[in-house]
């Protein structure tokens, strides 16, 4: 229904403000609803240009979006899948790609123009890290559709941050979260379920603090705010060799497909974060052919990129550090080599600065390099200021 409305407005003569309005008022919808292509309406005669003009008339609601651009503005480019429609070869290829994805018409990997991506990006919510300062340098938190690598020295809090994210992704939508589920791929055996329980409790107590009226809500709302509920939505894989790690990542695509809710209600709950703790361990243990390791790892990183994009989820890779000789001295650097260092969207390095833990945003396509302090408390990852008293865990 929403699609129809969107299309009607966009095909109308009124201009863009209505369209924008719609985009603004519908942030709770999953973005894929907004981008759904109204196939049946493709040949709508309202279009200002003849169908034969340029490429073809096939267009998504988003690219044929509106007529706010004056007639001097060029017609928007189309998905080339349809643009190639004249050729059998092209069509065959296109069909195969649709089949490949299995997602049918809603292929999230298709071409999109930057304007639509911008509006989609702005309706995205980010996964909070638990620390406001840390969210600040990350542009609001961990972004979905991106691969974020987090590295740091032993004991600085990588696993803690990983667990925290697995919990925070589940903060219900009505409390400002994503209400998603988490996949935790543990290669090191450092996932302590008691600690997860504590962090879940910490998260819940913070929610209740921020929303003091929530206990007046219905019991179903409160049921969501139980640590057990949070724990039940973390899917845990224990990986014991690099081959299993590859297998798990390959299998993930099918797994996510099976755990994707078909209902399009607001409370749709699906996996929104995949955490690999750590991506390094087994590849550092027993892979002798380093050239082959580089190839396997780069293929792995592309698969993770694809999963992130196709399922609109965040991939978080925890990485270890190693020492490296550069510029005449030994320095710490993240493991797995130069080639791997290119294979993430964002990179965050956790380190000690004096007596405080700091996070340093080392790489990001959209944000400046910056650093911010954070703390690991009994309740999990928090801001430093709110943590003068360390809570002793018993």
């Amino acid at each position: 229904m929403v699609v129809m409305v969107l299309f009607a407005i966009s095909a109308g003569p009124t201009g863009s403000s209505d369209l924008i309005f719609l985009l603004r008022t519908a942030p709770a919808l999953p973005p894929r609803l907004l981008i759904r292509r109204p196939v049946s309406r493709r040949s709508s005669a309202d279009r200002p240009r003849p169908a034969s003009h340029r490429s073809s008339s096939a267009g998504s609601a988003r690219s044929s979006g509106s007529c706010c651009s004056s007639s001097s503005a060029p017609p928007p480019p189309r998905r080339r899948r349809f643009l190639a429609g004249g050729s059998d070869a092209g069509r065959a290829v296109a069909t195969r790609r649709v089949l490949d994805m299995g997602a049918g018409e809603n292929n999230p990997l298709g071409a999109q123009n930057a304007w639509d991506m911008l509006s989609e990006e702005q309706s995205q919510k980010h996964i909070t890290t638990g620390s406001g300062d840390l969210n600040g340098i990350l542009g609001g938190g961990i972004h979905c559709k991106e691969v974020t690598e987090i590295g740091g020295v032993p004991g600085v809090g990588k696993t803690q941050l990983g667990i925290q994210l697995a919990i925070n992704v589940q903060i219900p939508v009505e409390y400002g979260g994503l209400g998603g589920k988490a996949v935790y791929i543990d290669t090191e055996g450092s996932f302590m379920v008691e600690r997860v329980y504590q962090i879940a409790e910490g998260c819940i107590s913070d929610i209740l603090e921020h929303f003091p009226h929530s206990h007046e809500k219905s019991s179903s709302g409160n049921k969501q705010l139980q640590p057990e509920h949070f724990l039940a939505d973390i899917y845990y894989f224990r990986i014991c060799s690099y081959a299993e790690q590859i297998a798990a990542i390959n299998y993930l695509e099918k797994f996510l497909g099976e755990h994707k809710d078909v209902e399009l209600c607001i409370y749709t709950s699906q996996v929104r974060i995949v955490i690999i703790d750590s991506v390094t361990f087994h590849f550092r243990q027993d892979f002798d052919d380093l050239a082959l390791r580089t190839r396997v790892l780069s293929e792995l990183s592309l698969k993770l990129m694809k999963i992130a994009k196709a399922y609109n989820l965040a991939v978080v890779l925890l990485n270890q550090v190693t020492t490296k000789f550069t510029e005449g001295s030994f320095q710490l650097t993240l493991a797995l080599g130069d080639s791997w260092s290119h294979s993430c969207t964002n990179r965050v390095i956790l380190y000690w600065n004096g007596t405080e833990r700091y996070a340093y945003l080392d790489k990001s396509p959209s944000l400046p390099v910056a650093s911010a302090p954070y703390a690991v408390t009994g309740k999990g990852v928090r801001d430093v200021s709110s943590n003068h008293k360390r809570v002793r865990v018993t």
Binding site: Y236, A247, D288, F330
Partner: protein
């Protein structure tokens, strides 16, 4: 499951034949090849190669559990599984003691009391559950010939006088501790390989390696490649032993003096710290002998150190607890805490290992 034979995966027949014909027998064989290489090996097109990878991956992927199921299982198996050290403050900080199924490292300068601590743990592992032990056998891999039954029994008699009053208990306890003394790395590797069998045969409840660093004698982590390999192998082996036999594994590590201070910063930190590289005038600058990779892999790290006239046990890395330090002394009854009240540790102090040479000698 990496070594799962392809023949047991119930693949579609044509894929199974194809893989068998190319001698891709295990999941590992199939999955360590990039797509294009697999296509070349199979001499098949992309869809076939992808189908093969998808099938093999699904079969080889370990089962998925929810965290809730893990928690329930933990509760069902009783109490989360800890080996209490009987040092109250430390137990509290660790959430009950040395965790079962994880790798715990004890690191510190020589002579500070690591072996004393291990002896006590060995004894505890052997003690009946009634007295807070694990009531099982203990496998003690003694690489430096430091294990002393007499000393262990002495520790036992002093710390649990009421227990050891029983006739023959001391002998029984000592008999439960299996000590091996590998003399070389090859020996050690061999004994590790036999360990899986031993563990099953003897109902082993605790594994102690004292000390790991002596065997590895890696004076420099930067010597990458060949020399690191046995370390890496040992590391993952010990971790898998801990996990699948559900026993605590305790490993001791030595220290070495740090030769080069600037090896321990990220490149972006160097600019900021200009000329302030000295991280706080410690008495002497020590780091753990097994390098940073080892440090990543252990789940709990206990640092034994000495400064300002006391010895301290410091929880330097633990997923459960913040960093705290406890002053201790070594008495005839073994390692004893002076206070159960931990001192909070922050910043670089957490990872540092301090040693006042004079102090250690004096005691």
């Amino acid at each position: 499951m990496a070594n799962m034979p392809v023949s047991e995966m119930r693949l579609p027949p044509h894929l199974a034949h194809l893989l068998a014909a190319r001698r891709l027998d295990t999941a590992k064989d199939v999955l360590s090849l990039p797509e294009v290489e697999l296509m070349a090996v199979l001499d098949a097109g992309l869809p076939t190669a992808r189908a093969a990878v998808a099938h093999v991956s699904e079969a080889a992927c370990p089962p998925c559990q929810t965290a809730l199921a893990l928690l329930e299982e933990r509760v069902r198996l009783g109490g989360g599984g800890r080996l209490a050290t009987t040092l109250c403050g430390l137990d509290e900080a660790l959430g009950g003691g040395i965790p079962v199924g994880k790798l715990t490292e004890v690191v510190g300068p020589s002579g500070i009391g690591k072996t004393q601590f291990c002896l006590k743990l060995a004894l505890l592992g052997a003690l009946p559950e009634y007295y807070g032990g694990l009531d099982g056998r203990v496998l003690y891999i003694d690489t430096e010939s430091k294990f002393s039954s007499r000393r262990m029994i002495e520790i036992g008699q002093k710390s649990f006088p009421q227990v050891f009053r029983q006739e023959g208990l001391a002998q029984k306890m000592a008999g439960r501790i299996l000590v091996t003394r590998p003399t070389s790395l090859t020996d050690f590797t061999k004994s590790l390989e036999q360990m899986k069998v031993t563990l099953l045969q003897h109902d082993v409840k605790l594994l102690i390696v004292d000390s790991m660093a002596a065997l590895m004698s890696l004076e420099n982590e930067r010597a990458t490649g060949f020399r690191q390999h046995p370390l890496r192998w040992t590391l993952s082996f010990l971790k898998s032993i801990a996990e699948f036999s559900r026993i605590p594994v305790v490993v001791t590590n030595q220290v070495r003096s740090q030769s080069n201070v600037d090896g321990y910063h990220f490149s972006f930190e160097v600019d900021k710290k200009d000329g302030n590289n000295c991280t706080g005038g410690f008495d002497s600058h020590l780091v753990a002998a097994l390098g940073i990779q080892w440090a990543h892999a252990v789940t709990v790290r206990l640092v034994f150190e000495s400064h300002s006239g006391h010895r301290f046990i410091k929880v330097a890395k633990s997923p459960m607890s913040p960093a705290v330090a406890f002053p201790f002394v070594v008495e005839t009854s073994g390692v004893t805490l002076l206070s159960d009240e931990g001192i909070d540790v922050t910043g670089p102090e957490i990872t540092s290992i301090r040693c006042q040479g004079k102090n250690v000698l004096a005691q």
